[in-house]
């Protein structure tokens, strides 16, 4: 019974590692106000998903999915599953595209509001909104 328990824990340790990493990333994204930090959190979150995929494709005792040069597939050699690797290669490149777009947005936001802190930006937005709406409210009251 005890042996089964340790085996179970060792076999599932990788999943728990991703959960911790993923939740750390999510925590950074939702609790921190700095926009650059949010992007870094998003990257951590993303990388943890990549690790999850790659670890699913791993076969114990297997090797990288590269054939010998004579190009003969030998079923007795265990290869890792190449399909998750391909999906994650695509995902990494799409991820960098998202990151760069987010960073460009941050630069624009900084130009407009002179701040990259979420709270500061919200306060500025509120004041802008109120000053824009004040004259309208006055008119509405007179009619």
């Amino acid at each position: 019974m005890n042996i089964f328990a340790t085996e179970f824990i060792l076999g599932h340790l990788n999943y728990w590692l991703f959960i911790i990493l993923m939740m750390t990333g999510l925590y950074i994204v939702i609790s921190k106000g700095n926009l650059v930090k949010k992007i870094v959190g998003l990257n951590i979150f993303q990388t943890s998903v990549f690790m999850f995929y790659i670890s699913m494709g791993k076969v114990s005792g297997g090797t990288a999915p590269i054939f010998p040069l004579d190009g003969v597939y030998d079923p007795s050699i265990a290869y890792s599953n190449p399909l998750p690797h391909v999906l994650i290669l695509t995902a990494i490149v799409v991820g960098i595209a998202t990151t760069s777009l987010g960073l460009a947005l941050i630069i624009r936001i900084r130009e407009e509001y002179h701040s990259i802190e979420e709270e500061h930006i919200t306060i500025l937005e509120d004041t802008v909104f109120q000053t824009e709406n004040l004259p309208l409210d006055g008119k509405g009251g007179s009619i």
Partner: protein, 181 residues
């Protein structure tokens, strides 16, 4: 080590250190990918994650500010929701197959089929390259489209930065001269 790096990112306030740490994180994850036999993914992650994204973030820092300000928001609600989501996922993993076992659904369907076909179909020794460029060629095409769109988006957002700055300066100068006159 990855977890320690990620937790340090939560604590650190200097954005410069955070960007450096995110590079470290990418490099460590690349090492992990190598031990899991995903060499292609490892070098893409090392080049893109540790290289390009670090450079992009440093560029952003150069154009914006360096330090994170203290936040007055309560951290309790995010913490509780994160722990809850983690607990749900933890419950989900209890049914997952064991790490590295060859009988999982992942290993018994299309994966081995690809491995069997590739030497005859494509004659490329690297199975990842073969799938990426031919069986899943449309995915790669779509990916290129996404990167292209993102590139255009970034250019549209950033272009005119200098022009706007000069305009701002001009406005400031003109208002200054008005004030003095």
């Amino acid at each position: 080590m990855l977890i320690v790096t990620a937790l340090t990112v939560v604590k650190t306030r200097s954005l410069f250190a955070i960007v450096a740490l995110s590079g470290v994180f990418s490099l460590l994850s690349a090492l992990l990918f190598i031990t899991w036999d995903a060499v292609d993914v490892a070098f893409t992650e090392a080049a893109v994650g540790a290289g390009i994204s670090t450079v992009l973030m440093l560029g952003t820092l150069a154009l914006t500010s360096r330090a994170e300000k203290e936040s007055q928001k309560s951290n309790l609600l995010p913490l509780v929701s994160v722990v809850l989501a983690g607990a749900v996922m933890f419950y989900g993993t209890l049914d997952m197959p064991k790490f590295g076992s060859p009988e999982t659904p992942v290993q018994t369907h299309v994966g081995p089929d690809y491995l069997k076909r590739i030497p005859d179909d494509i004659h490329v020794p690297n199975a990842v390259t073969a799938i990426l460029a031919s069986y899943r060629g449309y995915d790669t095409l779509g990916e290129t489209a996404v990167v292209f769109t993102a590139g255009i988006g970034v250019l549209m957002l950033i272009s005119g930065l200098r022009r706007r700055r000069i305009n701002d300066d001009d406005n400031k100068n003109s208002s200054d001269t008005k004030d003095t006159t």
